[in-house]
Symmetry: C2
Subunit: 324 residues, 2 copies
Amino acid sequence: MSLPGEFELIRRYFAPLAGPGSLKLTDDAAVVDLQPGRSLVATTDTVIAGVHFLADDPPDLIARKALRVNLSDLASMGAEPLGYLLVTALPAGIDENWVAQFSRGLAQDQAEFSISLLGGDTAFTPGPLSLTITALGQVERGKALLRSGAKPGDRVYLSGTIGDSAFGLKLAKGEPLTLSPSEKSSLLDRYRLPQPRLGLGRRLIGVASAAMDVSDGFAADLGHICQASRVGALVEAAKLPVSPALRSVLEAGEASLVEVATGGDDYELLFTAPAAVELLLGRIATELALPLTAVGEIRREPGVIVLDQNGRAVELGPGGYRHF
Amino acid sequence: MSLPGEFELIRRYFAPLAGPGSLKLTDDAAVVDLQPGRSLVATTDTVIAGVHFLADDPPDLIARKALRVNLSDLASMGAEPLGYLLVTALPAGIDENWVAQFSRGLAQDQAEFSISLLGGDTAFTPGPLSLTITALGQVERGKALLRSGAKPGDRVYLSGTIGDSAFGLKLAKGEPLTLSPSEKSSLLDRYRLPQPRLGLGRRLIGVASAAMDVSDGFAADLGHICQASRVGALVEAAKLPVSPALRSVLEAGEASLVEVATGGDDYELLFTAPAAVELLLGRIATELALPLTAVGEIRREPGVIVLDQNGRAVELGPGGYRHF
């Protein structure tokens, strides 16, 4: 099945995704109104087959993950999404069925996150499939969560659990892990379909002193917060929040806490907050049914130190997540 | 010379381009304030080596053209630019010198158009070099120039001259044309460095009934306006504004008016306006030192008809610009 031209693809698969402000994708740009007193928040991320995802991953999940990693960036700023622009560069191997599944994935997540397509560009490429999404959001003026506000004495928090996605990727690449089928699928899901923590980001405005989403790996990303805030951090590895499935992998000796701390692609929120808001954070966690775990403390001395259960600093290696 | 990693490339070449709202490119997203009473205007375009430009085009010109085609979309909406997000997907063949030249090109146009880099993403690709730019702008609420407002009786206008870029591309590809060196370089310049008509777009608010920029070719793009406005248009080919260099090519019999009308990549503004604003448009043209030429009229009957000097309808072929 061959692929129709650019305009026909847009008409069949992308125009139905277009919402208010998109001008039905038939104008030169989108026109969007912000609420009064709000600043625009804008972020863009690209994903390339063979670099950021596997070419034979299900098209709907490729679409949803590409969208969600951008929504996660909005979440980390405390922003509420307004919509997104989508650039698809399609190689010769893609057929119309692929595009149909891809657009169904987008439709599903548009419904889940109450957003719509604002605009974009569709091109054909001699290279690998690649997708670039620009997510636009709004946040109360002067209130965006930044990486630069962490203060000595603040606690370091993580939402949800980390490490799952890195081990989900190992499974996707066929590496054997001693896990039940349901545990395997929970890790795979975490790799394929991250959960942007938009509700949490909104609730952290005025509460967290600094925030970002974990994409390069917990240790590297905490390093980014520390660098931007000109502080350091001391973390206890044993406190890192780990899912039951990943706990099995750790207990089977098939994973180390270093891998959990550096795995990447988690898209949980990593944030700092003064000790005084501990109770409030407990209420937010209950309300959102999302665990928020204190894993360490910000201190004056630069650098991120992760202590093992014997109080010894863990060697993190060159650190940071590397794409496969 | 090998290429440094993503963070180092950003630090050396992209961070110096970052302006207000970019948070020095060290946060998860940009945060930008619009002026009160303004709507956000957002557009995105991707260009791929071998599809939209030649891989050995000068890096600074690749950068500037990629930026300018996006600014041209803002111009066509009557918007004032706020800044842009840049995604670069770099193949193995790119060295640091290339990135340095590329970023110098961006710096030059940032100065020319008073904008700065707001954010982006830098990736490495096994495929061809590709660039995706998202331009953000603002426009008076409810005043954006759309494609859908053309009315029967309105005149059809073009800014500047059209066709130059299509023949500049022929020259870039080595096709022989009987031209002086200075004529050749003027056509090549038009292909490599389009002029986004931002000043004109701003002035057309409240004056033009519909507008867009010419990227697919004059005839195809006038078709887009007619379709969005549910009208048709009658154009006189002899009135199409042609540069002295392209006039030589026409006179040498090496180009036809059909090629001028369908050439594409012009990035001039194509707009419609009621006859009553003719004098005002004359003043705007003088003020901006930019010719505005009436080339035809909007009518009720659908379809775009281009008449030759004998009053016969020109056969435009399948129409529209095709990328090389």
